[in-house]
Amino acid sequence: MNVIVEREKGLLELEARIAELRSVAAAQSVDLHSEIGVLEAKATQVAQEMFGAMTPWERVHMARHPRRPLGSDYLLALDAFDELHGDRHFGDDAALVGGLARLAGRNVVVLAQVKGRDTKQNIARNFGMPAPHGYRKAKRLMELASRLGLPLVTLIDTPGADPGIASEEHNQSEAIAACLTTLAGVKVPVVATVIGEGGSGGALALGLADYVIMLEHSVYSVASPEGCAAILWGDAAKADEAAARLRLTSDDLKKFGIIDEIVPEPLGGAHRDSTQTVADVLAAIGGALDTLAAHSPQELLDARYAKYRKMGAFLDTGLPTVGAR
């Protein structure tokens, strides 16, 4: 059960009533101006209270909202997109879609993790969890982008890489690991955007980038809050506490220097205005591409190495004074 879906029901009722009053007013030429004004003020107040300051756990649910714009919505909004299928060896993975695209006046290669909107779609797309042949298709297209000099744009939205038997048999570890070395070496700008759930290594496989954007209420985490809670407290119900501890929100991650930019969402979440949200994200990506276009391949590679080289928090002055010696 999604806590945001539950909580926004009251707001949706309020908005339905406003719409109803408006149509009554229009149809019967009654002046309901002040009644509507009161309800609108109320709706705004409710929305502010609900969404003005969300807990990390609420933001996890926002990131998983069933009406949140999906990878496929972004692909549809591109100026042009031609999907390229398959890893050439084993299969085509609908959970990780890639192709040639035009975005903000540039030709790019785009890679997007895509969840389904309903159960049927989710089964076809394996709930957005890529298999090894999905990551191998991604690697193929990363190399294509690098060779053709096309910038690489990735959209991240996955609970994690597929944890099934076949995926282990086909070496999921190597598939993700190979994406990471490939991204470390591509000679073109790489812009990654977390648009929903950034679930662990399966997300990072598309996330080693020159510039990383997060949609405001997306989350990006070393482990799912449920999994983390189960490990730490043997109790998945403490996921809300784990969500808070993991520092998985966009503002936390910006402070840690793990992401570079946050794209704000409409009050109440991206799904309240999907079209605008998608446009805002694509504009942010376009801006990043403009900046990166000024750099030579070698400059990009050096800057990318330097960026990840300094990631981490540690002491470098000998043993810290934690614990006894």
């Binding site: 470390a184 070393v222 981490g312 470098d316």
Partner: protein
């Protein structure tokens, strides 16, 4: 041989199951083994061949001709998330230091193996389950950069439960950080071999563990991306016994060889010989 700091940590003084007794029970065949014999046999059960998890310092002694020049020993964990669950992160670190006698889940440095100089990194499951946090990432990168500069081959021993939760996304980013270092190192024509030991999973398996030129696994080691329990919960059925074992991975074409611990040093010596014909004085 000057003993590095981390070997001087008071491991032996701590009350710990391994150090507390003269005897060890083999978890596979239940044989009671005399600890001194076990050490002599490289922590391999003389009855059933079970490979015990091995301490990093024991591995160093097993592999190197003599001295181990540790690198980045002073790089130590901080607490960027001010993490606390049942205990604080610093408290966990402090406890594991005493338990393991290690300053972190990896030690890195240089030495010679059968007369051939190499950069060596050894993870140890007894420190935070071999999880990768910022220190593991930083020590790894310093090792690869040092080896790149000196054109040494790199040999890593992995043992890891994955990324370290207590450092959140900073831990996950060590996958990217170490991958970038591996890429630079191997692109320059240097040799990188890995030995996967029990267990190697998650963020470590999905980054530097599977980026090596040659991938060896110790007999029967458990290796995979997702944990066994996670998969069993997902598919709601029990997995076959050999699933995610070294032998299973060999059959599936994922690794180059499965090697018994007794053969490991000779195997590595031969592999280094193929890529580093010039030997240094031992």
């Amino acid at each position: 041989m000057p003993i590095p700091d981390w070997m001087r940590l008071p491991r032996a003084n701590a009350p710990q199951e391994r150090d507390a007794t003269l005897w060890e029970r083999c978890p596979k065949c239940s044989e009671m083994l005399y600890r001194k014999d076990l050490e002599q046999h490289l922590w391999v059960c003389s009855r059933c061949g079970h490979h015990f998890r091995m301490h990093a310092s024991d591995r160093v002694h097993m592999l190197l001709d003599g001295e181990f020049q540790e690198i980045a020993a002073q790089v130590a964990p901080s607490d960027p998330l001010h993490w606390t669950d049942k205990r604080t992160y610093p408290a966990k670190i402090a406890a594991d230091r005493i338990k393991s006698g290690l300053t972190e889940a990896i030690v890195v440095g240089t030495g010679t193996l059968a007369g051939q100089r190499l950069a060596l990194g050894i993870m140890d499951f007894s420190f935070r389950g071999g999880t990768m946090g910022s220190v593991v990432g930083e020590r790894l990168v310093r090792l690869f950069e040092h080896a790149l500069h000196h054109h040494f081959p790199v040999v890593l021993f992995t043992a890891s439960g994955g990324a370290r939760m207590e450092e959140g996304m900073l831990a996950l980013m060590q996958m990217a950080k170490s991958s970038a270092a591996v890429k630079r190192f191997t692109d320059a024509g240097n040799f990188y071999a890995v030995v996967l030991t029990d267990p190697t999973t998650g963020g470590v398996s999905a980054s530097f563990a599977f980026q090596a030129d040659v991938i060896i696994a110790e007999s029967k080691a458990s290796i995979g991306f997702a944990g066994r329990r996670v998969i069993e919960q997902t598919i709601r059925q029990r997995l076959p016994e050999n699933f995610q074992t070294a032998e299973f991975l060999l059959e599936k074409g994922q690794i180059d060889m499965v090697v018994s611990r007794h053969e490991l040093r000779d195997t590595l010596a031969r592999l280094l010989g193929y890529v580093a014909p010039a030997t240094v004085p031992a």
